[in-house]
Symmetry: C2
Subunit: 154 residues, 2 copies
């Protein structure tokens, strides 16, 4: 029997990595983290999920749908410039033993997620944290305005 829920229908339109990101964002919401998907911390870089915690914690989560997807990512070590902790999010079929041990691990699907291994913390300096948080705030508000009022041209 086909699943005709809005979620099931919408999954035909998005990529496997984006589906993982949705599950990750749902779990982050449960942890009281506010998350942005496909976030661009600086020109030429895009992280799958950037999250801001209740005490100002900044986490980056990269979603990998396959070994090849992981192997193609040579940039992830740079992500610690914008976050206190870095996680991979993968599904149950992913060969998790190929992931570096000193990173966090989240098991995810399109409906939810679970932190399997907490990422080590490398706290951002204060000024850096302020700048990253401010950019996150401005980008989130501008995206929201783009939804509410498409004529604003943001």
């Amino acid at each position: 029997m086909q699943d005709h829920s809005p979620l099931a229908r919408s999954t035909h339109l998005i990529q496997p990595g984006q589906l993982l990101a949705r599950g990750v964002c749902r779990h982050l919401a449960e942890l009281n983290f506010a998350a942005l998907e496909e976030y661009v911390p600086e020109r030429g870089r895009r992280v799958d999920v950037m999250a801001l915690g209740p005490r100002g914690e900044l986490w980056v989560i990269e979603c990998k749908s396959s070994r090849a997807d992981f192997m193609a990512d040579s940039k992830w070590q740079g992500y610690l410039d914008w976050a206190d902790r870095f996680f991979w999010a993968v599904d149950a079929d992913f060969p998790a033993d190929i992931l570096p041990e000193d990173t966090g691990l989240i098991l995810a699907d399109g409906y939810g997620a679970e932190i399997v291994r907490m990422a080590p913390e490398t706290r951002l300096p204060g000024a850096r944290r302020s700048a990253v948080t401010r950019k996150f705030a401005r980008d989130a508000a501008r995206r929201l305005l783009g939804w509410r009022d498409p004529q604003v041209g943001v």
Copy 2:
């Protein structure tokens, strides 16, 4: 002749103050400020527009559609707890001379706005600014997730 544009149709659904807020947000976007409408800085308070500038400036804008609307607002002086500058936004028919002189003034309609009088600046202390910016960031991202994925239940 009736205006059948999406904007004209949508204006039947929103209040006069919200219409001013939309124009204000468009102008703020031109000034490179990212704005949130109907923002709740703390329980029991709601500001019409809260905006975050490129250098971290925090502005609050209250939209008043009539003299009565202004007279009913006894809370505005408290808004400086969350902002460096405070503005009123009113339309061309509003009796602007009843507004306090030591506040900013924005002339607005549903399509745009203009700053007529810059608000004086009372800069927030650093720790306060960080806390307000963080809350703005988290609230904006959560609202956005509510649009993208209504099932997340934020």
